[in-house]
């Protein structure tokens, strides 16, 4: 199996098939990382596309001294940070607010105009509810803890690579992970769960 660095070097020499292999290897974890980081599929699509386009544009500057996955996830992380900074200064409209000043129905809210992606099957709804509970808990995490948690659980990166990606020490990354797990434990109700007697 060729490493990401080898595939990138092959693409630098003009081998487009190597880039296709890179995409096949990294697009799904990166896509899910962006989805869980941004909570917006269309925005995640944009950033996924932008991430790989930046890889293509800067392919000639890539040096195989760093791991390709680290480089790729650093680009994606920086794009997420840029978006979140921009979103912080952007005026957003509440879904519970009025749809439009020119709307004929004054009681109609913007939330009513959003397409409902929820399936009607009951068990799927319950399943989604559990997922939504986790998503809410993850969203409540501080950014530094959330990105470490998602990199570990979605991208399945080792802590050393997470540390290289976020630019922190490995001990700091592990500390952030522990805080994230403790926060999720409280949010998911595991705080009051009791272990079996055999463990005690």
């Amino acid at each position: 199996v060729r490493s990401g660095e080898d595939l990138m070097a092959a693409y630098q020499r003009g081998d487009s098939a190597a880039f296709a292999e890179l995409m096949a290897r990294y697009e799904t974890p990166l896509w899910n990382f962006l989805r869980h980081s941004l909570r917006d599929d269309s925005l995640a699509e944009d950033l996924l596309q932008e991430t790989f386009m930046r890889v293509v544009k800067n392919a000639s500057h890539y040096q195989p001294t760093a791991r390709f996955s680290t480089w790729l996830y650093t680009i994606a992380r920086n794009l997420c940070i840029d978006h979140q900074r921009a979103a912080a200064h952007r005026k957003t409209r509440s879904l519970d607010g009025k749809n439009s000043d020119r709307d004929s129905d004054p009681d109609r809210q913007l939330h009513d105009t959003v397409a409902n992606a929820q399936p009607t099957i009951e068990h799927t709804a319950i399943h989604r509810e559990l997922i939504q509970q986790l998503n809410t808990a993850v969203d409540a995490l501080p950014t530094s803890q959330r990105e470490v948690f998602l990199m570990r659980e979605v991208l399945e990166l080792p802590f050393a690579e997470i540390a290289a990606t976020v630019g922190a020490s490995e001990a700091t990354v592990k500390s952030r992970m522990r805080y994230a797990l403790e926060a999720l434990r409280n949010a998911l109700g595991e705080r009051h769960a009791q272990p079996p007697e055999v463990m005690l």
Partner: protein, 390 residues
Amino acid sequence: MTWTREQFREHVVDYLYDELSDLDRTEFERCLTGSEECRRELWQLQQTVLTARARLAADTRPAPRHVREHILAFADQHAQPPAHTDLIAHAGYAPSTDRAERRTPHDGQAENIFQRLIAWLISPAKLTVLSVAAVAALAVLSKQHTAPEQSNGVPQSGSSATVESPTAEAAPVPATASQAESETISPDDEAGSSALSTFGPFPGAAPSTDDKGSQPSAAALERREAAPLQTSPAAGANAARKRASSKPKPSIESDYSSPALDLSEGKASQAPASEPPQSAAVSGRGPADTYAPRPAVPAAPTSTDSTRAVPRVQTRHDSLARGARTQSTYHPTHAPNEVSHEADELMQAKRYPEAAVAYARLLAQYPKDPRAAYWRKQRYLARHIHVSDP
């Protein structure tokens, strides 16, 4: 010594993700054995990780196909063509890495032929070869000037009749000089022959096939008038031999008179007397008129500069070796139809990987060809079919 609670918390993540050393693991498990609170906290964190992992796995989706296709198309458009060093290495030359390292994003397709020509000309290797060619040409010219002085003291029997004859101008002595020049210059060095051509035909040089119909210049006439003094005995003997018989018969005197004459005699005996030697034709023309194929690809140069300087010449040789070009159809920006048709035939034969390589090679060698957009599209199709075809 048992760990404190804080030490336990510091290592709990390592334990959960199995990144503890053996020593720390022993200490951690000893801590678990002695503390119910530690066991409960570890179990709760384990459940949290398992729950989160299961829910994240359930919410995992594949990336949108249209995004992937868009990115792949973008990557295919921006794929760097193979570096010139790859082409050289493919043709048997030693690869040069510094060229690839210095390659900029606009290097390749955007690099036009003039930039390549300038880069090729100003490379140290070519300058060296050009300087060698210039020195050799000056040496030949000085030899031509000193030859009459040396021959003044030697009785030249029959030389006056030989020189006055019009066939004396086709004497092989200048051709011999040019052939000797070709021996000193690398056969792959086009600049060498072009540098020689800038000096014009040597005094009394055999006219090339292109020059036969043209009127000689005033300088050439002056040189022809001065030719009796510059014609060597070998030239006279050779001209007399041509008049006497079509079968050459080298004299002993001429064989010992000049070592370079041996080459001339040998080639003259192989080629018809009416045809000038090929090297003379090359040296009599500029490189833009026609292109004379070189005999063989030289051995791999040892210096990096030499490999860096070769590309444009090598691509021509590469095509010539495949019989893709002829002298009359050569143009650096247009690929020969045969090569393009070969790629099309591979595509029609559904040999997509080979077709993709053929189109990529065409794009790399002829980026300015009007069919480049078509080749790029075909290359993308070939690669796409190849990738998606199970």
